[in-house]
Structures are given as C-alpha cells and as structure tokens.
Symmetry: C2
Amino acid sequence: MMFKKRTNADEAKKLFLEAVKPLSGHELLPIADCDGRSIARDVTAGIDVPHYRRAAMDGFAVRASDTMGAGSSSPVIFKQGQHIEKGVCVKVHTGSPVPQGADAVVILEDTVSYDGNIEIYTQIHPLKNVGDIGEDVRKGDVILRKGQRIRPCDIAVLASLGINNIKVAGKPLVAIIPTGEELVPRGKRELKVGEVYETNGLMASLYSRKWGGIPRLLDIVTDDPEKIKQAITSNLDADMFIISGGTSVGRRDYVPGVVGSMGNLLVHGVGISPGKPTALGIINGKPVVCMPGYPVAGIVALYWFARPALRKLGNLPDEPDRVVRAMLSEKIPSRTGYKTFARVKLDNGKAIPLATSGAGILSSVSKADGFVIIPENIEGLSAGEKVEVILIE
Amino acid sequence: MMFKKRTNADEAKKLFLEAVKPLSGHELLPIADCDGRSIARDVTAGIDVPHYRRAAMDGFAVRASDTMGAGSSSPVIFKQGQHIEKGVCVKVHTGSPVPQGADAVVILEDTVSYDGNIEIYTQIHPLKNVGDIGEDVRKGDVILRKGQRIRPCDIAVLASLGINNIKVAGKPLVAIIPTGEELVPRGKRELKVGEVYETNGLMASLYSRKWGGIPRLLDIVTDDPEKIKQAITSNLDADMFIISGGTSVGRRDYVPGVVGSMGNLLVHGVGISPGKPTALGIINGKPVVCMPGYPVAGIVALYWFARPALRKLGNLPDEPDRVVRAMLSEKIPSRTGYKTFARVKLDNGKAIPLATSGAGILSSVSKADGFVIIPENIEGLSAGEKVEVILIE
C-alpha cells in the first residue's frame, strides 16, 4: 500500500470538514449543567428584566419635576412619606421598586435629612437613577442564539428570566479504536519485550471529552483488517471514529485500506510534520480520523483534524487557542511542503525548541508547553525570531 | 459605612493573593480522571520507555558494520534469517524488538528482495532507525513536577510508564453565599414586584467549578448581619468564600462589616470599573471575595480576584486567557484611576463596544464576547485602536 498522495494540511482539513455534518440531536438539560454546551434553539425572554421599575441607587424616589430649581446651595424641601405626591419623597434602596407616581431617584449623597424633612440639593431629570422595566432584557428578545457556546454568564441570564431547562445540542459519541499487536492494556501487568502500554487511545479519549465529545474507548485491536472492520461495524452508533495506529504504508498498516473499503478514504498522507501518515475518511456519513501510532504525530492529528471535526459535529463554534508570544532561543529546522508543529518549552519569554529525534517520543509532548507552527513555505525559523506559541491543552 | 479607601486594582490583587495559602491536601486518583488537576508530588519513571531496543521503521535489522560499502548501485547481499549473524538480516517492523546482535535497521525502501536474498542498497551507521532503551523516558527521570497542571498528553506519558494512579492536589471547596432581601430562588415561582431571581450565586458556582473548585451554593441570606455571619460560621469547613451583594456603602450593605468583624477586611473599594464596591478579606485563613450584587461588577470581581485566588488555593499555575486582537469600532470612555473592563462584541476583526447604562445590565455580559481592559492611566480608547479582547469563558 502507498500513500494515495500527500495532501496539503489546510486542504486536507477543508476537505474533511466539508464532509462533516453537524448533529441534529438535542437534549433538555437543567441550565446549571449547560456550561460549555451548544444552544439548540434560539432562546427568547418570556418576561421583562426587571419586571418593575427599580431604584438603581439608594436614595429618595421623587417626581423629577418637583426637583426643579434645586441646587447645591438652594435645596428643595420634601416631606418623607409612603406614597408619592407633590412635595413628598419615598425612601428607596438599590433594587427596590420605585413607587407609583415617582419617575426618578435622588441619591442619598445629594440629600440632607433635617428636622423631619428631606432637603434635596440637586435637580434631576426623569428616569435618573431608575432602572426601567425591560432595561436589562425585554420580553420577546432573543437572548441566546442557536449554535452559541453557553458560558456561566449566559446561564445567569437564563436564570434571571426564570428559565430552568434549555435544549442543547447533543454531544458527539466518539468511538476510539487503538490498534497494534505490540499494545497491551495499560497498567494490567508488566511488559514483555516487544510490548508497550496503550496510550494513544487514552489520550484521544481525554481530548475528545475536553473538546465536547463523549469518548468510548474500545479494546485494543490487533493488526488484522477483519478485526479492525469488525470494531468499526459494531460501533456504528458512534458519531465519529478515531483509530490509532496502522496508518502508514508498512506491511501491517491496514487501517486506511479498511476505511476505504467501508466508506470513502478522503486523504491518506498529509503535509504535516509530524503526522504525515494521517488518514481521513467517512464511513456511513461519520468522520474517521486515523491518527498515526507515533504519539507526537498522533496528537498533531488530533489537534489539526479531530478537534475541529468534533466541534462541527457538536454544533460548537471554533475557539481560539491560548497563545503566548515568545522569542525563539534556538533555530528550528523544518521541511518546505510540510506544516511543522515544533514542540517548545516556555521559559521567561523564551520559546525553547525541544530537541528530539522524532515523532515517537511521547515524553517530548509532555515536556512541551506548546507548539510553534511553521508554515509550508518556510524552511525553518531562526534563533531570535518572535513566535506565537499555541499552548497544548 | 464608608469605603475604607479605594485600592488600586493591581495592589488589591497582590494584597489579597499574598494572604492566600495553597492547600496542602491531596487525593489519589486514577490517571484518566486527572485532566486539569495539579500534580501533588514529583512523578518519577519506574521503567525505561522503551524497555527494549525497538525498530523505528519497517525493514531489516542488521549489524551496521555488515552494510559497509553498500550503495545505490552496489548492494551488499544478505540472507534473511531468524537470528543475526554475519551476513544475515532479520525482518522487523516499527515498534518490534531489534534482535540480539543487531544494532541498526535498513528501511524497506533501501532493499530489494531477490532470489531468496535481501539486497541492501545503503550503508548505515549503528543505531540508525533504532529506538534505544530509555530513548523516550529513562527510569528514574522526573516526568511530572509538583504543581504542574495535568493535560491528556501528560496522562498518556503516565500510562506509558504503567502508572495507574497519582496524587493530585485537592480541589478548594468554595462556599458561595448570595445575599439580598430582593432575591428569590430561581425558577421556583413567579416574581412579585420588588423581587428578582438569584443569579450571581449560580454564576459564581459555575465559574468556581470551571476554575478548579468545588462550589457549594448556599441558600439566599437576607440583608441581616447576624444571618450573614451565621452562614459563614456554619461553612467554615470551606476553603474559600464568595459572598454576593451587600458590599456597597448603603444602609443594607453589611457584608464588608461582617467580614471585618470575623476576620481581616483587607480591601473595601477597588479601582476597577465596574466593580468598585468589591471587598476582600480573610476569615480563619480563608480568602473571602465579596462581589458586588450588580452582576457585571460581580463577574469582573470573579475574574480579577476569585479566579487567581482559586488557582493559588488549588496549586494550579495561572493560565493565559484566550485573546483575540481586533480593531475598536467606536471609542470607549473610561475614568482615570480605574482599571476599566469594557464589554465588547467581536465581529469580523472588529471589537464593538456594548453601549450599556451600567453594571446592573446582566444581559450585556451575555451579549459580550470579551473584555477590553483599559489601564488606570488612560482616559478611554479611540475608534480604530488595536485592542486585545480577553474572551469571557
């Protein structure tokens, strides 16, 4: 088997994402459980907030027109009462209702209480220090729109409207299939020569969860096309597949062939480094990311392909990465034609490239704070260059 | 009651954080549950990874010295066998053990299988295409350091070492006390005039959870100093308090006084806008954030004070915000002496200030994508200025 052809990283992503269709399912959840979820329907306010005219400050509610002529040396004198009428003011505090007939609030600091009367030292205009009905939200306003990611502050707005439950888009179910005859389940027993613990499937599960999916990590499948096929067939209820390992062009690299035989193999071989053996396909309308078994290549494939696919499936907007600007402490080599994900460590404003021998060095990701992405048309970066480091989550 | 004095935003944060002591508790968790947690102890590798010399490519294992003189037009001819000896090579694939006696791997592409023999067309040096023992991780290496935030890629490294459980720092328990006689529990019944649904406590709970704490949202407490004191006293098992409302200088603003009477009121009145009535204190060694009842001021106090305090308590490093650079579509006014958090909406590279009448407009946060922070020494920003927008999570 050979790579079909090497596809440019951006083209491969575009081709893949075009084939990913957002899920249409939704669920009704208590608002407190909706942080990070995607709104499934526009949400409209059923009430005004506030639903009464409220004082915005502590002070005295008045008819604004009664303060005409008041000034810092010429107070207008009011009586304090329970109901508004000409020359009568009513004490209010922030948030309390402005009494019938009043249209403004004089703040405490502009008044003096003297001999049972209230002296008001400022002339105010109607609605001064008053929160009018619907000032915050008007009944009928669209408060949250379909496809928005919900944040705690949005949930607070829903709560202010008395809304208890909302419809959110369903989370994509991601079936994760680790393949490789050298793999043994982690932590079960000591390793023999030729064996390694399974880690890529675990890593793909945790990133899938972080990015809004529900991971289903399946048992390790050996390098056998029939068994790989069967693992896919028995999980066709999933919305997406991530298959780890077996994506290269060696004797035991059956995964892209299996994907092609069951659906549409869109891409095999991508201009990303590390990550060239990545394959992408669609089976039964469901996106399939075949991540290389080499863990560093694997994480690049997850970031570059699995994350945007998961978000699109889950109706979530793309989220900007956390980025730190830094100065390269040493040059980083790269090959033209490949979008290169160089691992760097951050130290005091410097980005220190992690010298590693290759994509097989899992610990080099763990040592890295982030990636510097070097575009295809550039041959390496020089020491001293300013770079943006995309933090690895 | 008066503001003690208005403290500069950065000074207030510094003063407060100096009084916050990281928690010393920890818990032992399965590694798959540790995403986002803080490592409680340095983790050392108990095995080498790989623990055997492995092939880094598909091909033939050889003694490198036997390939001497091979070239693209002058192959050295090997026999294929099961054991290495002079002139004999052994087929290997990526990840499989390199057989005893071999020290290098010739990749498949540099060989031709012909007439039962293997022709090798390249001369290679020892360790070529071989991953040596400990190449990824050496037994005894410190893999993760105390205080690191754990990511999925770090968990993968732990898995590669056969580690099943690790010690992580405990999560801070945050007691959240909403105060205000106008508040009613959300969604229970329709509002009467003068009532609003409780939202700040809910919002503080959700942000506390997002930032690594365990929220305990308490019942609404009315504006009564004894009841506020009692709510604190009965939750002294918490590691931190967030009290919402009653922080200003009005007749019913008892919260700072209560904090001062029970512990140390460090700050009351901060040079942030909105958020001036914020108060900060320490009770029984536990940080207390008194967030203003006005929701926009409240969220600013959560971001500026509660988040770093929570992280410090939880032994988590500070995390850079997600930032988007944009051009201001309109000017934003601000007052010197106040660090101003202006809410903006992002649209196609533009940051559009949200015109709002004040800190009471909860929906203005929900409409905002982020904050533009205007420093104390600047009086507003002009239309057309390049700004960094800190996305609201």
